[in-house]
């Protein structure tokens, strides 16, 4: 087992090496000086462009001191020392090789993968590649990057990029990745903002994981999903199935669009200033399924189930979907023309109308419907109403009311709630009371077809960073990195137990290295099982186990694939032989 001094020895050797192999790198690093945090893609080490950078050289000065302090909580020196030990003893290089090699069925799959490092000096190095786990470990120990990113698999080893013409180096494959960042939820968060998170708003991530995990597995049939805490305020997902890795850019874009909620333009445009609101996924105007989608009651689960019941009668509908939707909507309006009171007594809920057989169900895509019934519906009360208290103050409820299409209803609710605020403390309504009231009122209103459902989707449906998922050559932070600002390890999250995941208590760099030190110092721990690994003595253990299960499943899939291929080959050969035999027989006759 290598000890501290060994480690230092390797390091000093490497520093010498650095002089020759990566001189530019070293020079850059010292020039860049300290840990300025502002921007990452500052300098890439990509070639000799000293002359170009000289243009602005005159104004180069060390960054403001507070910036440096903000970057890393522990002092830099200490952080880097701990990080080095972490890489030396805890970072699962061999497992990474198993993962990203995918059985190395395709020639040098691992070696063609792009790695990129952000060094403590804020130098950003792209297009690194490594032939083996040892190579990778060696280089990481040498550079001690504060952040490791994983990129695409290219047609040749990324480190050889400069040996070919610019067009000849292309990204071939990559995991389908998703990045969900809490800052995208800032307009609906009431507890924290920007980089901060708490257990309350983490619920948004839990909902996102639950919905996306199901959609990716059930809709798209992917099996090998690795969910990872991003170290601060978000989660990543690595879909590692072979089919996912081979997806084209268009396919990725389509999946992302599929997984983004369509919110009708009518509300988003009029209410959110000069920009379309988030996730208005379709811009061609033809896809406003959501506008016409079915109105139903979400306040109780029963109703959600009831809508699965089959309508009994049909109409002749050979027309296009759009017309169908139009007709349903029109019918609904026609029905609404009857006297309000009467209507409510006779047909209390619209889904019931449909059960009574007035036409086909309105469009509500199966995937959204499942998300709604299984997750959103339950979580809305808990997360949005209870924890975010989204109808708690006038400022907050104004945001919600802005999504109510009925303007008269909006102002009526606003006035009523405002009055209520002034009443005695025990009579003041809670967010949940207000929501119930609003739902009731919206059901009565003619204009609020499915505004309630729209609001729920708006608040809770996952918000993806589309660019990360779409571009093949986009980089994403590697799992098991340490977030330089929080010191937390980017550990995998078990989607089955994502509700129990607490981002605030994940293992930290200091924690795990400290625990390892303590454990290794205990005399009774000197004798260890041959198989026992260092991580088992730290809080990383359960996370690493989850990671290994993920790896095992990939390996099994690979094996199955190989077996099937072999069988198919054998069969083909057999058939060929058979055919040849018959041919020969024909000839002899």
């Amino acid at each position: 087992m290598p000890n501290e001094s060994d480690l230092l020895a390797t390091l000093s050797v490497n520093t010498e090496k650095e002089g020759e192999s990566d001189g530019e790198n070293g020079a850059k690093r010292s020039a860049a000086g300290s840990l300025g945090g502002a921007s990452k893609r500052l300098r890439t080490i990509n070639g000799a462009h000293e002359t170009d950078s000289e243009v602005m050289q005159g104004s180069l000065a060390p960054p403001a001191p507070e910036q440096v302090m903000k970057t890393i909580s522990v002092s830099d020196e200490q952080f880097l020392t701990l990080l080095r030990i972490f890489y030396q003893k805890l970072f699962p290089f061999a497992d990474f090789y198993r993962w990203l090699g995918y059985g190395n069925i395709d020639n040098a799959y691992f070696a063609k993968r792009e790695w990129s490092f952000t060094l403590a000096s804020d130098v950003y190095i792209r297009f690194q590649s490594f032939a083996s786990a040892e190579d990778l470990k060696h280089e990481i120990l040498r550079m001690c990057p504060v952040k490791i990113d994983i990129g695409a698999v290219y047609n040749l080893q990324p480190k050889d990029k400069k040996t070919v013409l610019p067009g000849a180096f292309t990204a071939r494959e990559r995991e389908l990745v998703f990045d969900i960042d809490m800052t995208d939820y800032d307009d609906v968060r009431t507890c924290c903002s920007a980089a901060e998170i708490c257990l309350k708003c983490w619920d948004f991530m839990t909902v996102a994981i639950k919905i996306l995990d199901r959609a990716l597995r059930d809709d798209f049939g992917f099996q090998h999903l690795l969910w990872v805490y991003s170290g601060r305020r978000g989660v990543h997902c690595w879909v590692s199935d072979e089919r996912a890795r081979k997806l084209s850019v268009e396919a990725r874009a389509s999946i992302v669009q599929f997984l983004s909620v369509v919110v009708s333009d009518s509300t988003s445009k009029s209410n959110s200033g000069n920009r379309n609101n988030y996730h208005v996924a379709h811009d061609d105007g033809s896809d406003d399924d959501f506008v016409h989608a079915m109105a139903e009651d979400s306040a109780d689960e029963r109703d959600a189930n009831r809508q699965t019941m089959e309508p009994t009668s049909d109409e002749d509908d050979d027309d296009e979907d759009e017309e169908d939707e139009y007709r349903t909507k029109k019918e609904r309006l026609d029905n609404d023309d009857s006297d309000d009171e009467h209507r409510r007594r006779k047909k209390p809920r619209r889904p019931n109308q449909r059960e009574l057989g007035e036409g086909p169900p309105a469009v509500f895509h199966a995937s959204l419907r499942r998300a709604y019934q299984k997750v959103l519906h339950k979580h809305f009360t808990k997360t949005v109403l209870h924890e975010m208290d989204s109808l708690g103050t006038r400022e907050r409820w104004t945001k919600v009311l802005a999504f109510v299409p009925d303007i008269e209803l909006r102002s009526r609710m606003d006035a009523q709630w405002k009055n209520n605020l002034e009443s005695s403390p025990e009579e003041v309504m809670s967010s949940i009371d207000r929501w119930k009231m609003l739902v009731k009122e919206m059901r009565r209103s003619r204009q609020c077809g499915n505004a309630m459902r729209d609001i729920i989707f708006r608040y809770l449906y996952p918000r993806l960073d589309a660019n990360v998922s779409i571009g093949l050559n986009h980089l994403l932070k590697s799992p098991f990195c340490v977030h330089p600002k929080t010191g937390r390890v980017c550990v995998p999250i078990d989607p089955q137990k994502c509700a129990e995941f607490n981002p605030l208590t994940v293992p930290t760099l200091e924690g795990v290295v400290g625990a390892l030190n303590v454990a290794n110092r205990r005399p009774e721990n000197d004798v260890r099982d041959e198989d026992e690994e260092d991580f088992e003595r730290t809080a990383l253990k359960p996370y690493m186990e989850h990671f290994r299960i993920f790896l095992k499943q990939i390996a099994e899939s690979t094996k199955t694939r190989l077996r099937l291929e072999q069988e198919a080959n054998a069969k083909q050969q057999q058939m060929r032989r058979q055919a040849e035999k018959e041919n020969r027989r024909d000839l002899t006759f």
């Binding site: 990509n46 170009d52 243009v55 960054p63 809709d219 169900p361 509500f364």
Partner: protein, 500 residues
């Protein structure tokens, strides 16, 4: 020479050899539709070679314009029809007795040959390939729509595409999901045939949530079958073009065809905006930008005012605006000064660390070291969907109605043109809307520049043939027309292919 093509498309399986109750006189063309899996084995003269190619190119251009400018699907078809009937008339099988089999054969032969010539001409760069695939697919689908149902069905059968029909039992097992996805009654569902294909084959439907997917399989209803056909056509052609691109250098061609082919390929190129980087006489200095804003298209004006307002622009906005400035002739040194002074609220160090890289990147001095060209309208519209706090993108697409109105007012658009533009915008024809804005304001720009506007206005009033396809195209057109109304100034180099 075209015989050589035979080995270029390796995956060719002869779809036409399938026997069918058709007229033997039609030879390999039993249908007016063609998937072009087999290269044409004919000898032909250079003259034919060129005319066939140009005729098809005219049709494809018409297809492209139709989609850009026509408002409704039937208008698209009418638009295409005019050009199609003129240059590439194809009679359907029903007309066989009317016009004679020989004519049908000739037409289809020409269609076949011209398609393969364009493959040769347009296989070289990814851009060209993408363009050809897009237009050819649209053309094919146009013809598909025009053909009779029986012929279509027969054609599809012969193609033998891999799309298994979903069994009744399987359909019943996902009935609820299918019905909610499509909003269909039970009876309609039971009367609909579904095909089960990998979701990758119907990405458009997936993206729009117009199809039910389960475990990676998309359940495509009969009605959307054309999507499957179009997709098959597209992927087949894409693959064939890539194979051709690899084979062309090995083609061992003499000097007869290469010049023809490259001139054909340029026909397309001349219509996109290629910024004149070299020999650009009008170098734009950092302090001249504000004076040129009058010539900026709305997207750039918007970015410019955001920059002046916030003394900052976000990443994509910087790329979009920075490359535009580069396109109008701002050299790197000026660009660095321009951005430095524009971001006046930050320290030199912040700028150097965070932004100078970006500027140099745009000029191909950092990162990938590509000499980037200014973004085209298509790129601005389709990529990098802006978030709520972003300023980049196409205003026609991203602005709300009211903001757009304000914008148009700032350009001094008249009421009638304004409603017209608003309508175009609403229907998603952002570039056409932008073109209309240009047409509507061109006169005003002159009024500001020169009082003697009438003459040039008369010239300007000729309707624009070409849609605005590039922000820099707008800028150049605007500058040129301004210069024309100021005869004293030297005319800038003619940069408007659109004017032709």
């Amino acid at each position: 020479m075209l015989k050589q093509n035979r080995h270029l498309t390796a995956s060719a399986t002869n779809a036409h050899e399938v026997t069918r109750h058709n007229d033997p006189r039609l030879g390999p063309y039993p249908s007016s539709l063609n998937f072009y899996t087999v290269p044409p084995p004919y000898e032909l003269t250079l003259m034919e070679f060129e005319t066939y190619a140009l005729d098809r190119l005219r049709v494809l251009k018409a297809v492209e314009t139709a989609f850009l400018r026509a408002k409704k699907p039937d208008a698209v078809d009418r638009f295409i029809q005019t050009a199609h009937d003129e240059h590439m008339h194809l009679n359907r099988n029903v007309r066989i007795n009317g016009v004679g089999a020989a004519k049908l054969y000739q037409e289809r032969r020409k269609d076949h040959i011209s398609h393969f010539i364009l493959r040769l001409a347009y296989c070289r760069t990814p851009d060209l390939r993408r363009w050809l695939v897009k237009q050819e697919t649209a053309l094919f689908m146009y013809r598909f729509r025009q053909e009779e149902k029986a012929e279509r069905t027969r054609f599809i059968q012969d193609l033998n595409l891999d799309m298994p029909v979903v069994s009744n039992a399987e359909r019943a097992s996902v009935a609820t999901e299918l019905r909610f996805t499509h909003g269909w009654s039970r009876e309609r569902l039971e009367n609909t045939t579904f095909y089960r294909v990998p979701f990758e084959n119907v990405l458009r439907l997936v993206a729009r949530q117009k199809v039910f997917v389960k475990h990676g399989w998309a359940y495509v209803p009969e009605r959307d079958q054309p999507v499957l056909i179009a997709n098959a056509f597209r992927s087949q052609l894409t693959a064939a073009l890539e194979a051709t691109a690899k084979a062309v250098p090995r083609m061992d061609e003499d000097d007869r065809l290469i010049p023809v082919l490259s001139s054909i390929a340029k026909q397309y190129l001349s219509n996109t905006y290629a910024p004149a980087t070299e020999g650009h006489k009008d170098r734009v200095k950092h302090n001249e930008v504000d004076g040129l804003v009058g010539h900026f298209p709305p997207c750039m004006r918007n970015l410019h005012s955001a920059l002046r307002r916030d003394a900052h622009l976000k990443h994509v906005a910087r790329l979009q605006f920075g490359l535009f400035l580069k396109g109008i002739g701002m050299p790197l040194e000026e660009a660095l000064i321009f951005w430095r002074t524009a971001f006046h609220r930050m320290t030199d160090d912040q700028f150097t660390k965070g932004y100078a890289y970006n500027v140099r990147y745009n000029y191909g001095l950092e990162g990938k070291r590509t000499n980037y060209t200014p973004y085209s309208c298509i790129k601005i519209i389709t990529s990098n969907q802006p978030g709520p706090t972003d300023n980049h993108g196409c205003p026609f697409k991203e602005f709300s109605k009211n903001d757009l109105k304000l914008l148009m007012k700032s350009y001094g658009v008249e009421e009638t043109a304004m409603t017209d533009i608003a309508k175009l915008t609403k229907d998603g024809h952002y570039q056409v809307a932008c073109t209309r804005l240009y047409e509507a304001t061109r006169g005003n720009a002159h009024r500001l520049a020169n009082a003697s506007l009438e003459k040039s206005k008369a010239e300007a009033n000729a309707p624009l043939v070409q849609t605005v396809e590039h922000p820099n195209q707008w800028f150049d057109m605007s500058r040129i027309s301004a210069a024309q109304s100021q005869p004293s100034r030297t005319k800038p180099k003619n940069l408007t292919p659109a004017a032709k």
